[in-house]
Symmetry: C2
Subunit: 254 residues, 2 copies
C-alpha cells in the first residue's frame, strides 16, 4: 500500500460571520462535497475564520491610541490605532523597523503585529481588523468536540496562521491552536537506518501540517480556509500549541 497524504480544501464555505457555527459548516460542506470527515483526519482551519466566527474583531475608528502607541507608530510609520491594538495583544516588543512590528504576543508567539490583520475583513461600516482567538487551543478543542458530536468521528483540529521567518523570505504556516494532535514528534533516543542514536531530531509535526494546508488555503483571490489532511500518522493526544514554543531561556535570538 502506498504511503500517501491527501489534502482536500472543503469547498463552498460561506464568508464567516460573528456567531457562525463553524464546526457545523465544515461538517456540512465536507459532506456535500462527498468527502465526509473520518477518524484520524486532521482538520486545518485558518485562524482568520475562527477569529471571525468568535467575533474577534475591532473597528479602528473605535480605538484611541495611547502615548506609547502614538510614539511607536510615528517611529515605524504605521496607523497609531493599529499599533495600539497590537500593543494590547502583546507581552513584549521584540523588533521594530519602518513598517514592521515584531512582538511576543499574549500567547507567546513571536510574530508580526501580534496576528492583528486588516486583510480579508469586510470594509463595510468602518475599518475592521481581526485579532487572534483569545485561546486558540480552546477554539480547536471546541471545534473538535462539535465535529465529533455531529459525525461521531474523532478528528484532530489545527488552527493555522502564516508567520514570517527571520532569515528566509515569505510566510509559512504555523499551528497556533491544536486539539487531539501533539505538535512535536520527539525522536531523540530512537535510532536511524544504521543504528545511530538520533541526538537532536524533534519534528515540528503540527507546523508542517499547517504549512502543507496553507498551500491550498490561498489568500488573495479565493477563500479556502479549511483543509482536511488524510493519511497522516500522528500522536493523537491532548496537547497545547504552546508545547512548540521555545522557552525564553533557550532562545538565542530574541
Amino acid at each position: 500500500m502506498l504511503d500517501q497524504l491527501t489534502l482536500t480544501a472543503v469547498p463552498g464555505l460561506p464568508l464567516i460571520q460573528p456567531g457562525d457555527d463553524l464546526g457545523a459548516l465544515i461538517v456540512d460542506h465536507a459532506e456535500r462535497a462527498n468527502c465526509p470527515l473520518r477518524d484520524g483526519d486532521v482538520v486545518v482551519i485558518a485562524q482568520k475564520v475562527v477569529s471571525k466566527a468568535e467575533g474577534r474583531r475591532l473597528r479602528l475608528e473605535d480605538v484611541t491610541p495611547g502615548p506609547r502607541a502614538e510614539d511607536l507608530a510615528a517611529q515605524i510609520r504605521k496607523d497609531p490605532r493599529l499599533v495600539e491594538i497590537i500593543l494590547r495583544e502583546s507581552r513584549q516588543v521584540v523588533r521594530t523597523a519602518p513598517g514592521l512590528l515584531i512582538v511576543e504576543d499574549r500567547h507567546g508567539l513571536i510574530c508580526a503585529n501580534a496576528g492583528v490583520d486588516r486583510s480579508n475583513v469586510e470594509k463595510t461600516d468602518g475599518d475592521w481588523v481581526t485579532l487572534l482567538p483569545v485561546d486558540p487551543d480552546a477554539s480547536a478543542r471546541s471545534l473538535r468536540d462539535c465535529i465529533q458530536a455531529l459525525t461521531g468521528q474523532r478528528v484532530a483540529v489545527l488552527i493555522n496562521d502564516s508567520h514570517g521567518r527571520p532569515w528566509r523570505e515569505g510566510a509559512s504556516g504555523v499551528a497556533i491552536g491544536v486539539a487531539g494532535i501533539a505538535p512535536l514528534d520527539d525522536q531523540r533516543g530512537s535510532h536511524d537506518l544504521f543504528g545511530y542514536e538520533l541526538q537532536s531530531t524533534v519534528v515540528a509535526v503540527a507546523d508542517q501540517v499547517a504549512a502543507a494546508a496553507s498551500l491550498l488555503q490561498g489568500q488573495a483571490d479565493e477563500g479556502r480556509p479549511v483543509v482536511v489532511v488524510r493519511g497522516l500518522r500522528y500522536e493523537a493526544r491532548d496537547a497545547a500549541a504552546a508545547d512548540a514554543l521555545r522557552p525564553r531561556e533557550r532562545d538565542l535570538f530574541r
Copy 2:
C-alpha cells in the same frame, strides 16, 4: 472538482550509494508502484540521498581539526573533527551554545552544523558524515533533466532539508535546492476577498512544499526520501533556492 493535493512517498528505493543514478531510480520505482511521474508534479528529494549519490561525505578519521575548530569544539563540547568540517562549510558562525553550532553556511543558509550530519550514514569503514550538495540548485536541475529525458514529463524538483527555528521547537522542512519552481509567491499588490490591497503577503511556497513532504519522509525507522506532490499550482520557472534567503541588510536577528 475538488481542490486537492496528493503526496506520495516513492516506495522501495534502495539505500543510495555514491554514484547511484538517483533520477533513474526515482523514475523506475515510481513506475513500479504504479504512480508514474507526470507533468506538473513536484518531486521532493531529501538532501541526504542527493548528498550520498553525489559522494558528498567525509570520514571523521580523515579530518585534522585546526586550532579554531579545537577551541570552538572545547567550548561547545562537540567533536573537533566535526567542528572542523562545519567551519569549512561555513561563511560565518552565527550563534553557539553547548552542543549547538549555528552558522551561515556556504550557500547562505542559517542553520545548525552547516547541514553536516552523522545520522543515516553507513558506519562501516569509519565514522562518516554527509555534507550538503556543492550546488543544490544544480543538483535539482540535473535530476529534473534526467527525469524529463527518461519520461518526457516536465516536473519540478525540490531538495529539502530540516531546519530548526529560533522561537519554535522542532525542525521543519525547507527547500535548499529548486528546479522549475519559484520558491516564493509574491502576492503584494493583489487584492483580498474584499478588495483590500495585500501589503505584505509573500508566500514561502517551496518551503511549505518541503515541510509537507517532510511529513512523509520520516527519519528514524524507515527511509522514504522521495515524495511526489501532485495537484499544486505553482509558478514553473527557472529559479534559485537562494531567492528565498533574506538579504543580510534586512536581517533583524543575526
